[in-house]
């Protein structure tokens, strides 16, 4: 994770380096062309999970904090957005705002608790808090318990655009996904992002330089939770279901896996990882419970032999920044 760009040799452009600009253009072209070749619904789901993984990567990749409870923000945003759209009859844009705000609030509380401990404890605390909120979701009336919230209406965006048709929804998801991606990219390359990386590399040193690192960590945590929430809120409208799967611990593990496979601390890794893992789940759905075993094997292989991930490995081979 320690590839620091040399500012003298690297050509910078609007998106950081030239290689990143090219990768972004390729990504854009693929996402515009892809619905003509495969199911738009699958692609939209992939984009939601990619945004989720990007949000998660903001913490692990740039602050060095492993949150093992990101399902909490994803799942609760998904519940609230589904509830707002279905039971309160809110239009989709407001439903997403409600879901995302819920995640931000949860992130603020959980983050404030979790940053009180370091390292491995941080992971355990986030996991435990997520499990607590899973039990709350299991008990709460509005979540529908085991059934979840089903047939969530997509509605009309701003009262005009019908999201019921696949094209309209696809464009909407694509725009939000790209906006989320660019926002995260902006955060990473801002002075704020530089402080986060300094904390990742050497926290005591950052403290001695006068940075209130706890405040930066909390801010990063809330941003990550909010963006994970945006992904979850969007997902509830895409697949029109919010269920317990989204808040349960395997979901937290899945986002870790996506990011790990794509490449921790890379800009494009989480996107590649999310598409790879979802494609695998989709292709291997006939294998039932064995998918769980395969995911476990991927975890083990990645940690032992492939810690850079797909994108990290490519970036390393060609000595570029991705």
């Amino acid at each position: 994770m320690k590839h620091v760009a040399d500012p003298l040799t690297q050509k910078t452009s609007m998106f950081g380096t030239q290689s990143q600009t090219i990768a972004f253009v390729v990504l854009l072209a693929v996402l515009i062309a892809a619905p003509f070749f495969t199911y738009p619904l699958f692609l939209m789901e992939c984009m939601c999970f990619a945004l989720f993984a990007l949000a998660f990567n903001l913490l692990i990749g740039y602050v060095g904090l492993l949150s093992f409870g990101h399902a909490l923000y994803f799942g609760w945003a998904s519940y609230l957005s589904a509830h707002a759209a279905k039971d309160w009859g809110l239009p989709p844009e407001l439903a997403i705002v409600v879901g995302t705000a819920t995640a931000a609030l949860c992130g603020l509380i959980a983050g404030a608790l979790a940053i009180r401990r370091q390292g491995i404890y941080f992971a355990m605390i986030t996991l435990a808090l997520a499990q607590m909120m899973y039990f709350v979701a299991l008990r709460a009336k509005f979540t529908g318990g085991e059934d979840g919230i089903q047939s969530v209406p997509r509605g009309h965006l701003f009262g005009v655009f019908n999201l019921g048709n696949e094209t309209g929804m696809y464009v909407f998801v694509l725009v939000i996904f790209l906006a989320g991606f660019l926002l995260i990219h902006r955060i990473i390359h801002s002075p704020f992002g530089e402080v986060l990386k300094a904390i990742r590399e050497n926290e005591p040193r950052a403290i001695s330089l006068g940075y209130k690192t706890d405040r930066y960590k909390l801010m990063a945590f809330v941003l990550s939770a909010t963006l994970a929430g945006l992904a979850g809120a969007l997902k509830a409208l895409v697949v029109q279901i919010a269920s317990l799967t989204d808040v349960y611990w395997p979901m937290s593990g899945e986002v870790v896996l996506m990011t790990l496979v794509g490449g921790l601390g890379t800009v494009f890794g989480p996107i590649v990882g999310a598409f790879a893992i979802l494609s695998m789940q989709y292709k291997l759905a006939w294998m039932g419970q064995w998918v769980l075993v395969i995911q476990g094997v991927i975890f083990v292989v990645c940690v032992l032999l492939f810690r850079r991930g797909i994108v990290g490995e490519i970036a390393h081979r060609f000595k570029i920044k991705l």
């Binding site: 370091q118 299991l138 790990l260 419970q289």
Partner: protein, 295 residues
């Protein structure tokens, strides 16, 4: 019928007993986690899966080989502990120089593999494990009914927990172990085979989890999911107690089991979440944990 705070005393003591039983498992598992973390610097996410393996081993021994509870209590931990040693040699030994997080991720992957294989062969429904005749029945203590098996579980857990504490804090081997935790390089310089000690420590921690699994088999059904839910609660217990002290792990395990039992009596809706709430409060009041020395 006597009542305490408006609750029938039978129900109160019954839930307290269940709390103590759960507490025994929390204590045994968080003890294993603490011992492993001390030596390997790895949080063993697979601990829950290894606990499940212990229960499954007992079930298989009984139903396929006709080997009963008592031998299983010895055989299952040895078998699962041996698997643990293989895991340490094959996978974990390559991670000691890396960030702690990789150990968590790798053992998480192992937990998924073990649980996934379990679900394929055992199904997700629980399988019943029959109690040995010698531990059936129970005693009426006047204020409550005490089943023999439950009394046995609490007693044995206490013995095992304090036995482990004694072995680590009061024996020569334990002194080596503590020294190796503090400064492995120096201990190696004294001619002690630290890598082997690390391997055996992991095997012991895993065997402890499997032992808890065998004891849990007759109480909860044997199912592939029994470990994963439990391990997350045990993580919360570990955060509350802090992993710096063995006694801390034991006390917080039993204490939180009792707290959970009492919650079931007075406010059942919160019984699943109470330990996490306690964790949040401890983090606010004493961020280092109740018995923690380091942050």
């Amino acid at each position: 019928m006597t009542t305490i705070f408006g609750v029938p005393s039978m129900a109160l003591f019954g839930q307290l007993l269940i709390g103590l039983i759960n507490g025994s498992f929390y204590a045994l598992l968080s003890l294993g986690l603490a011992v492993i973390f001390g030596m390997l610097n790895i949080i063993n996410f697979a601990h829950g899966a290894q606990y499940m393996l212990g229960a499954v081993a007992a079930y298989l021994l009984l139903n396929y080989l006709g080997i009963g509870y008592w031998p299983a209590l010895i055989i299952a931990p040895i078998v699962v502990g041996a698997i643990g040693i293989v895991i340490e040699r094959l996978f974990l030994q390559w991670l000691y120089k890396l960030d702690h997080l990789y150990g968590l991720l790798l053992t998480f992957g192992l937990a998924l593999i073990i649980e996934g294989v379990g679900r394929n062969y055992l199904g997700t429904a629980g399988l019943p494990y029959t109690l040995p005749d010698s531990l059936r029945g129970g005693h009426n203590l006047g204020f409550m009914f005490l089943p023999n098996y439950r009394a046995w579980v609490i007693g044995v857990s206490l013995v095992v927990c304090f036995g482990t504490w004694f072995a680590i804090e009061r024996t020569r081997l334990g002194a080596y172990l503590r020294a190796a935790t503090e400064n492995p390089t120096l201990v190696r310089a004294f001619g002690i085979n630290v890598p082997r000690m690390i391997t055996l420590t992991y095997g012991f921690g895993v065997a402890l989890a499997a032992f808890a699994g065998v004891m849990a088999a007759p109480i909860y059904n044997v199912s592939p999911n029994m470990g994963s839910e439990l391990i997350i609660v045990v993580f919360a217990v570990v955060v509350i107690g802090g992993m710096g002290s063995i006694l801390g792990a034991i006390f917080s395990g039993f204490g939180l089991g009792i707290v959970e039992g009492l919650t079931k009596v007075f406010y059942p809706e919160a019984s699943n979440t109470v330990i996490f709430v306690v964790m949040a409060i401890v983090l606010l009041v004493r961020p280092a944990g109740l018995f923690g020395r380091r942050t």
